[in-house]
């Protein structure tokens, strides 16, 4: 089992969600996060002059899938989160030791 953690642009969420849904990946957790990468932030205006915001709002999608599903999930996210400009985000894959479904107590594959 692997956890896929993807940082994406806020405005790409619907497309990414839809693509994952089409491949039957429903479960996910989405959170609002701030971060920075090569995009380096944007400039906003104050009453006079400007100021720099170097941590930008992004969304973090987390889902846990079977090992063989990792590649199609990465594909779905990449295809739909990409605009080609800096700030498109990143995907991290990490191993998961145990999964427990709270309602039933099911473990691992049965709980995904």
């Amino acid at each position: 089992m692997k956890k896929v953690e993807a940082i994406i642009r806020e405005e790409r969420l619907e497309a990414v969600k839809k693509a994952l849904e089409e491949k039957s990946y429903y479960g996910m957790t989405v959170s609002e996060v701030s971060g920075r990468g090569k995009q380096k932030g944007i400039t906003l205006q104050w009453r006079v002059g400007e100021y720099r915001v170097d941590l930008l709002p992004k969304l973090k999608i987390e889902l846990v899938v079977l090992d063989e599903d990792v590649l199609p999930v990465i594909d779905a996210i990449m295809m739909n989160a990409r605009t080609g400009d800096t700030g498109d985000g990143k995907i991290f894959i990490m191993p998961v030791e145990t999964v427990v479904r709270v309602r039933t107590g099911d473990r691992n594959e049965a709980a995904i």
């Binding site: 906003l44 205006q45 104050w46 009453r47 006079v48 002059g49 400007e50 100021y51 720099r52 915001v53």
Partner: protein, 411 residues
């Protein structure tokens, strides 16, 4: 004189309108600070409704409007509202119950104190600012009010024209704000950290309440429900419109038309036209509004960016500078055709009036600045004006008030 019911109704409504400006100011200021200091910023304004609302009734009105002593201060004859009743006063607002005039003036005192707090948000100790506010009301605001509006006040006798408080409220609070900034110093992290406003819609709501309340402030200052009140109403709205529009265009020229800039322009226009509202024609409000924005915009840039003063919410640049500009503009644009109790200004051939206005600016500004420095120093030495490093870093909402603006996971 007998009580005029129309005038009384208008003055009481105006008092209520001006009351609403203080919570409006609280939201206007509260939206511009960082998230950890919203409540503390709001509280510094709102607390004035409690503090000044009491002191004004107990002795404030008496010392400002009681029997004159040497042109500098009123007397004790209205202490605890003694002799202030349902009959009109013989000298102030002679067609409405004196109680109505007293409570109208109370609202001015409340917002004057609330105004300067915007300069020192995010670092001032609440207890200290409360004590400072009581002292400032007594030693600075009350005498200046007497000078300008009190019967026998020396600036009133000199012929200074201040319709609704350009000197009494705006120069006074604006210059005092500057003195406090000098005493307190900058916020930690200023100017290198970006101190992003937490809620601009809240700033806009506050500005809207201020603009709305300002009709009571300026048109109410006619003290009568008549043509003069109507004229001041139109002048006020026209100046606010011209100033808001100008600020929007300046920020557009620099990059994009910001809403924060547009509402700031409106407030600058309103503050600037305050002393002039009942002495000038509606069309004269246009150059005053445009000038208000241009002058306030560039003073803000100059004080903050060039000089590095952390007048956090630009109280001096908007109210101090706007008040000075507005008070001088009375000396230029005033005309007897609008208000026979006023005077002609420079454009109507009376250069002397501009000189009188200048004396008003210098004496009120000078007194407010040095008296505030003195009182501030005293409070700093005894209580300490500034919170400690940890309290400032954690934020004043938690460290001063034990509350936070937005709590809990369940929304």
């Amino acid at each position: 004189m007998p009580v005029n019911t129309g005038d009384t109704a208008w003055l009481l409504i105006s008092a209520a309108l001006v009351m609403l400006m203080t919570p409006g100011l609280a939201l206007f200021y509260g939206g511009m600070v960082r998230r950890k200091n919203i409540l503390s910023t709001i509280m510094m304004s709102f607390a004035c409704l409690g503090l000044v609302g009491l002191l004004w009734v107990l002795y404030g009105y008496s010392l400002a409007f009681g029997t004159d002593h040497g042109g500098v201060i009123g007397g004790f004859n209205f202490l605890g509202l003694m002799n202030v009743g349902q009959e009109p006063s013989a000298v102030y607002a002679t067609t409405v119950p004196q109680l109505a005039y007293m409570i109208y003036q109370a609202m001015f005192a409340i917002i004057a104190v609330a105004l300067f707090t915007g300069a020192i948000v995010e670092r001032v100790k609440f207890g200290a600012i409360l004590v400072f506010s009581a002292l400032w009301l007594t030693i600075v605001y009350i005498p200046i009010t007497h000078w300008v509006w009190g019967s026998g006040g020396w600036l009133a006798k000199l012929g200074l024209l201040d319709f609704a408080g350009g000197t009494v409220i705006h120069i006074n609070a604006g210059v005092s704000a500057l003195a406090l900034v000098i005493l307190l110093g900058r916020r930690r992290g200023f100017p290198q950290d970006s101190m992003e406003p937490n809620n601009i819609p809240m700033v806009v709501l506050g500005a809207a309440l201020l603009w709305f309340g300002w009709f009571g402030f300026n048109a109410g200052s006619a003290l009568t429900a008549d043509g003069l009140a109507s004229s001041a109403f139109v002048v006020t709205n026209t100046a606010a419109a011209a100033a808001a529009f100008t600020w929007m265009m300046i920020s557009w020229v620099h990059k994009r038309p910001t809403i924060l800039g547009t509402v700031t322009g409106a407030i600058a226009g309103l503050a600037t036209v305050t002393p002039a509202a009942g002495y000038i024609t509606p069309l004269a409000a246009i150059p005053i509004g445009v000038a208000a924005t241009i002058v306030c915009y560039y003073s803000m840039l100059f004080f903050k960016t060039k000089l590095g003063f952390d007048d956090s919410l630009d109280v001096f640049a908007v109210h101090g500078v706007g008040g000075i500009l507005g008070t001088l503009s009375v000396g230029i644009f005033a005309t007897l055709s609008v208000n026979s109790a006023g005077a002609d200004g420079l454009l109507a051939g009376n250069a002397m009036q501009l000189f009188k206005q200048l004396i008003g600016v210098v004496s009120v500004g000078g007194f407010a600045f040095f008296a505030t420095l003195g009182i501030g120093k005293l409070v700093d030495k005894t209580i300490g004006l500034r919170v400690g490093q940890v309290e400032e870093t954690v934020g004043l909402d938690i460290s001063q008030h034990g509350e936070r603006a937005y709590g809990g996971f369940l929304r």
